[in-house]
Subunit: 274 residues, 2 copies
Amino acid sequence: MRNLKLTLAYDGSGFHGWQVQPGRPTIQGALAEVIAGLTGEQVLPQGSGRTDAGVHALAQVATFQTESRIPVENFKVVLNDRLPPTIRVLAVEEMPGGFHARHSAIGKSYRYRIYRADPVPPFLYRLVTHFPYLLNEDVMAEAAKLVEGEHDFTSFAAVDPDRAERMEKTHFHLQQAGVGHHLEADDLPKHAGNVRTIYRSAFERRGDELVYEVSGNGFLHHMVRNLVGTFLLVGKRTLTPQDILRILGERNRSAAGPTAPAEGLYLVSVKYPE
Amino acid sequence: MRNLKLTLAYDGSGFHGWQVQPGRPTIQGALAEVIAGLTGEQVLPQGSGRTDAGVHALAQVATFQTESRIPVENFKVVLNDRLPPTIRVLAVEEMPGGFHARHSAIGKSYRYRIYRADPVPPFLYRLVTHFPYLLNEDVMAEAAKLVEGEHDFTSFAAVDPDRAERMEKTHFHLQQAGVGHHLEADDLPKHAGNVRTIYRSAFERRGDELVYEVSGNGFLHHMVRNLVGTFLLVGKRTLTPQDILRILGERNRSAAGPTAPAEGLYLVSVKYPE
């Protein structure tokens, strides 16, 4: 049995997120379908984590097992031939059996693009979040710095009472469909509760865009979008940068700002041990 | 009667070109519909020229007459509110009565984007032409230079036996629909036959893209795409740069290369007298 690692870029705007859902276009579903057509095997590639509907990826990582002997370079060409052009396989590599896209991951980087001018160019409208209104970008940069280091990010994690139930349903559907599937968990089990370490958290101006770059050893569900939504409140002067520390301390989702829209978010890269 | 000038950017991938066609999404048709909703007037904005299906614009110009007294800045905001996000109004200006987007134009610039790496990023697939194969880009640059100056571009103009007929049909449909419409001609009448002056014709490398930039006093139908299709044959060493001069001399469409795909082409700007 070979253990293959896929590195993937995708435009998330036409998909209901990473995770397979019966009757809806998803990245994982599109991959499973194309792999089945190619190898005859029913496999569900395991991503480094789920991305939500509308979220993009520059280098998502997924692993799956196969008996197929197709060389990795050919695998890449044929997958790209058969996948929609909004999902591209950047690399296929054969990995040791113990490597797993999610369990082996030791860090991730995300980017969030805020388009500050008006109007949004027609070529970017699903690829950035539009915020042309007044923002103090200096205090946003100050606030962003404050989340670097080790913190309990409960205040910035989605409160998802229905999530476990939804996942059980998907699991059930997949089993009905005969698809071998391990119930995907968040990256939580490796970490102590909602404590994560952020290596870098910074805003940068790039032309008409205000870009947030963040990397850390793990991220909770909606964490980057909730951080950005809160930093926007700082930029609007509804909150001060110091409020970020208070919000972290409260460990309560309702203390933080709203969830920023999905379309500005990119999974940039996933880090594994050398 | 006010004479308004629109400056427009659009992603042409979802449209059947600029020119209104019954039952199909077009840029001109979308504008006419939104203006009608806003002013109650049936007008057909006249573009600086048509762009074909799939061709993009960074700053297309169009003019139309209106009795509406809506201030230009509000016009822009409301048009952008009602148009699809793939068409953006960059500016609305009130012009003297004699100004006409097509008749007043004295020059145009186009860009053609060739994506040289593989695969095409999912975010670019309708915005560039993919050509990852071997090309000698130096000889393409040499060939491009040779079309600068005044030449008869008959060899690079579309041969369109059915075109006049199609245009008459569209004209007929529009008259049936009660839309005031002047039959659009090419920019030909101002110029002597197929002779045009090219001010600049050059290839530039920008990261993974080979970009062709061309500006001139006018362009024949398909002229930029036919030039690029021919330059690609030079890059593949099927033709030499000097063949470009021979092809110009032949004044015969069949002497030149194929028409390059629409998706890489951008109308960059339209020039008017100061």
